[in-house]
Protein backbone atom coordinates (compact mmCIF):
# COMPACT_ATOMS: atom_id res chain seq x y z
CA UNK A 1 0.00 0.00 0.00
CA UNK A 2 1.38 3.45 -0.87
CA UNK A 3 2.68 5.40 2.08
CA UNK A 4 4.01 8.77 3.06
CA UNK A 5 7.58 8.58 4.29
CA UNK A 6 9.26 11.08 6.58
CA UNK A 7 12.84 11.65 7.55
CA UNK A 8 14.40 11.89 10.01
CA UNK A 9 12.31 9.96 12.48
CA UNK A 10 13.91 11.86 15.34
CA UNK A 11 16.11 14.94 15.35
CA UNK A 12 17.73 16.63 18.31
CA UNK A 13 18.92 20.17 17.79
CA UNK A 14 20.19 23.12 19.76
CA UNK A 15 18.02 26.16 20.22
CA UNK A 16 18.64 28.65 17.43
CA UNK A 17 19.62 26.05 14.86
CA UNK A 18 17.78 25.45 11.62
CA UNK A 19 16.18 22.10 10.87
CA UNK A 20 14.75 20.63 7.71
CA UNK A 21 12.18 17.89 7.91
CA UNK A 22 11.62 15.86 4.79
CA UNK A 23 8.60 14.08 3.40
CA UNK A 24 7.96 11.97 0.35
CA UNK A 25 4.22 12.10 -0.36
CA UNK A 26 2.29 9.43 -2.22
CA UNK A 27 3.22 9.83 -5.85
CA UNK A 28 -0.17 10.60 -7.38
CA UNK A 29 -1.34 12.88 -4.58
CA UNK A 30 -1.59 16.57 -5.31
CA UNK A 31 -2.17 18.10 -1.88
CA UNK A 32 0.45 18.15 0.83
CA UNK A 33 0.24 19.17 4.46
CA UNK A 34 2.30 19.65 7.57
CA UNK A 35 0.88 19.21 11.05
CA UNK A 36 2.40 19.55 14.48
CA UNK A 37 1.58 17.66 17.65
CA UNK A 38 3.12 18.77 20.90
CA UNK A 39 3.40 15.85 23.28
CA UNK A 40 0.02 14.93 24.71
CA UNK A 41 -1.81 17.64 22.81
CA UNK A 42 -3.98 17.90 19.75
CA UNK A 43 -2.79 17.68 16.16
CA UNK A 44 -2.46 21.23 14.82
CA UNK A 45 -2.60 22.27 11.19
CA UNK A 46 0.43 24.20 9.96
CA UNK A 47 0.21 24.52 6.19
CA UNK A 48 -1.20 23.02 3.03
CA UNK A 49 0.48 23.06 -0.34
CA UNK A 50 -0.97 22.61 -3.78
CA UNK A 51 0.30 23.27 -7.26
CA UNK A 52 3.74 24.23 -5.97
CA UNK A 53 2.54 26.92 -3.65
CA UNK A 54 1.09 27.39 -0.20
CA UNK A 55 -2.69 27.24 -0.36
CA UNK A 56 -3.52 27.69 3.33
CA UNK A 57 -1.55 28.31 6.49
CA UNK A 58 -2.39 28.62 10.15
CA UNK A 59 -1.39 31.27 12.67
CA UNK A 60 1.34 28.95 13.86
CA UNK A 61 3.02 29.01 10.46
CA UNK A 62 4.87 32.29 10.81
CA UNK A 63 8.08 33.56 9.21
CA UNK A 64 10.05 30.98 11.14
CA UNK A 65 8.61 28.27 8.93
CA UNK A 66 8.85 27.62 5.23
CA UNK A 67 7.93 24.78 2.91
CA UNK A 68 9.37 23.74 -0.40
CA UNK A 69 9.03 21.10 -3.03
CA UNK A 70 12.63 21.14 -4.20
CA UNK A 71 12.17 18.35 -6.71
CA UNK A 72 9.29 16.27 -8.02
CA UNK A 73 9.06 14.03 -5.00
CA UNK A 74 10.22 15.66 -1.76
CA UNK A 75 8.23 18.10 0.35
CA UNK A 76 10.21 19.85 3.07
CA UNK A 77 9.46 21.86 6.18
CA UNK A 78 12.21 24.22 7.28
CA UNK A 79 12.22 25.67 10.76
CA UNK A 80 14.62 28.54 11.19
CA UNK A 81 16.15 29.49 14.53
CA UNK A 82 14.41 26.76 16.52
CA UNK A 83 12.93 27.48 19.93
CA UNK A 84 12.29 25.17 22.83
CA UNK A 85 8.56 25.29 22.14
CA UNK A 86 9.12 23.92 18.64
CA UNK A 87 9.74 20.53 20.21
CA UNK A 88 6.96 18.36 18.85
CA UNK A 89 6.08 15.59 16.47
CA UNK A 90 5.72 16.90 12.94
CA UNK A 91 3.48 14.97 10.61
CA UNK A 92 3.44 15.24 6.86
CA UNK A 93 0.34 14.18 4.97
CA UNK A 94 -0.74 13.98 1.38
CA UNK A 95 -4.16 13.60 -0.10
CA UNK A 96 -6.14 13.01 -3.17
CA UNK A 97 -9.63 14.23 -3.78
CA UNK A 98 -12.29 11.53 -3.57
CA UNK A 99 -13.87 11.22 -6.98
CA UNK A 100 -17.31 12.76 -7.06
CA UNK A 101 -17.13 14.17 -3.56
CA UNK A 102 -14.55 16.92 -3.51
CA UNK A 103 -13.38 15.66 -0.13
CA UNK A 104 -9.72 15.15 0.64
CA UNK A 105 -8.69 12.02 2.48
CA UNK A 106 -5.32 12.43 4.13
CA UNK A 107 -2.63 9.81 4.47
CA UNK A 108 -0.12 10.62 7.19
CA UNK A 109 3.51 9.79 7.51
CA UNK A 110 4.89 8.27 10.69
CA UNK A 111 6.15 11.64 11.85
CA UNK A 112 9.43 13.34 12.69
CA UNK A 113 10.06 13.96 16.35
CA UNK A 114 11.92 17.21 16.90
CA UNK A 115 13.61 17.86 20.22
CA UNK A 116 15.03 21.32 20.78
CA UNK A 117 17.51 21.64 23.64
Amino acid sequence: EPEVTQTPSHQVTQMGQEVILRCVPISNHLYFYWYRQILGQKVEFLVSFYNNEISEKSEIFDDQFSVERPDGSNFTLKIRSTKLEDSAMYFCASSEVLRGSGANVLTFGAGSRLTVL
Binding site: V4, Y31, Y33, Y35, K42, V43, E44, F45, S48, Y50, S55, E56, S58, F91, A93, S95, L98, S101, G102, A103, N104, V105, L106, T107, F108, G109, A110, G111
Partner: protein, 108 residues
Protein backbone atom coordinates in the same frame (compact mmCIF):
# COMPACT_ATOMS: atom_id res chain seq x y z
CA UNK B 1 -13.50 25.94 13.38
CA UNK B 2 -12.15 22.99 15.29
CA UNK B 3 -14.81 20.37 15.99
CA UNK B 4 -15.32 19.53 19.66
CA UNK B 5 -15.26 15.92 20.78
CA UNK B 6 -16.74 14.23 23.80
CA UNK B 7 -15.85 12.54 25.99
CA UNK B 8 -12.22 13.61 26.31
CA UNK B 9 -11.28 10.20 27.64
CA UNK B 10 -12.92 6.86 28.19
CA UNK B 11 -11.79 3.58 29.70
CA UNK B 12 -13.50 0.38 28.66
CA UNK B 13 -13.21 -3.27 29.45
CA UNK B 14 -12.77 -5.61 26.53
CA UNK B 15 -16.12 -6.35 24.95
CA UNK B 16 -17.80 -3.13 26.06
CA UNK B 17 -19.18 -0.53 23.68
CA UNK B 18 -18.29 3.14 23.33
CA UNK B 19 -19.62 6.18 21.54
CA UNK B 20 -17.47 9.18 20.65
CA UNK B 21 -19.17 12.38 19.60
CA UNK B 22 -17.95 15.17 17.36
CA UNK B 23 -19.82 18.47 17.20
CA UNK B 24 -19.55 21.68 15.28
CA UNK B 25 -21.40 24.96 15.56
CA UNK B 26 -21.59 25.10 11.77
CA UNK B 27 -22.54 22.52 9.18
CA UNK B 28 -19.55 20.50 8.07
CA UNK B 29 -18.73 19.68 4.47
CA UNK B 30 -17.52 16.28 5.55
CA UNK B 31 -16.43 14.48 8.67
CA UNK B 32 -13.44 12.19 8.84
CA UNK B 33 -12.50 9.80 11.62
CA UNK B 34 -8.91 8.89 12.45
CA UNK B 35 -7.30 6.76 15.12
CA UNK B 36 -3.83 7.48 16.47
CA UNK B 37 -1.88 5.07 18.58
CA UNK B 38 0.75 6.46 20.87
CA UNK B 39 3.79 7.62 18.95
CA UNK B 40 2.30 6.77 15.57
CA UNK B 41 0.63 8.60 12.71
CA UNK B 42 -3.13 9.08 12.62
CA UNK B 43 -4.73 6.37 10.55
CA UNK B 44 -7.81 7.07 8.45
CA UNK B 45 -10.91 5.14 9.51
CA UNK B 46 -13.73 6.54 7.43
CA UNK B 47 -15.30 9.61 5.91
CA UNK B 48 -18.93 10.69 5.89
CA UNK B 49 -20.19 13.18 3.40
CA UNK B 50 -23.97 13.27 3.52
CA UNK B 51 -26.39 14.30 6.20
CA UNK B 52 -28.05 11.24 7.67
CA UNK B 53 -25.29 8.96 6.45
CA UNK B 54 -24.24 5.91 8.39
CA UNK B 55 -21.18 3.91 7.56
CA UNK B 56 -19.28 1.11 9.16
CA UNK B 57 -16.83 -1.67 8.84
CA UNK B 58 -16.23 -4.54 11.25
CA UNK B 59 -17.29 -3.29 14.69
CA UNK B 60 -16.56 0.36 14.08
CA UNK B 61 -19.25 2.52 12.53
CA UNK B 62 -20.18 6.17 12.36
CA UNK B 63 -23.12 8.42 11.68
CA UNK B 64 -23.51 11.98 10.45
CA UNK B 65 -26.66 13.79 11.46
CA UNK B 66 -29.04 15.44 9.02
CA UNK B 67 -27.83 18.96 9.79
CA UNK B 68 -24.21 17.83 9.30
CA UNK B 69 -23.19 19.36 12.61
CA UNK B 70 -22.68 16.20 14.60
CA UNK B 71 -21.06 12.87 13.99
CA UNK B 72 -20.73 9.89 16.28
CA UNK B 73 -18.28 7.01 16.14
CA UNK B 74 -19.54 3.71 17.52
CA UNK B 75 -17.15 1.06 18.79
CA UNK B 76 -18.85 -2.20 19.65
CA UNK B 77 -17.44 -5.20 21.48
CA UNK B 78 -14.19 -3.32 21.96
CA UNK B 79 -10.86 -5.06 21.60
CA UNK B 80 -7.51 -4.18 23.15
CA UNK B 81 -6.35 -3.03 19.71
CA UNK B 82 -8.96 -0.26 19.73
CA UNK B 83 -6.97 1.69 22.30
CA UNK B 84 -5.71 5.02 21.03
CA UNK B 85 -6.80 8.57 20.48
CA UNK B 86 -9.69 9.10 18.11
CA UNK B 87 -9.97 12.29 16.16
CA UNK B 88 -12.75 13.55 14.01
CA UNK B 89 -11.82 16.11 11.42
CA UNK B 90 -13.23 18.24 8.68
CA UNK B 91 -12.06 20.08 5.61
CA UNK B 92 -12.39 23.78 4.99
CA UNK B 93 -10.94 24.80 1.68
CA UNK B 94 -7.51 23.20 1.60
CA UNK B 95 -7.27 22.94 5.34
CA UNK B 96 -8.06 19.86 7.33
CA UNK B 97 -8.87 20.47 10.99
CA UNK B 98 -8.73 17.79 13.63
CA UNK B 99 -11.18 17.69 16.47
CA UNK B 100 -10.09 17.94 20.08
CA UNK B 101 -9.54 14.17 20.37
CA UNK B 102 -10.85 11.37 22.57
CA UNK B 103 -8.48 9.04 24.36
CA UNK B 104 -9.83 5.50 24.46
CA UNK B 105 -8.26 2.84 26.63
CA UNK B 106 -9.44 -0.75 26.51
CA UNK B 107 -8.39 -2.91 29.42
CA UNK B 108 -8.61 -6.70 29.75
Amino acid sequence: QQPVQSPQAVILREGEDAVINCSSSKALYSVHWYRQKHGEAPIFLMILLKGGEQKGHDKISASFNEKKQQSSLYLTASQLSYSGTYFCGTTTGNQFYFGTGTSLTVIP
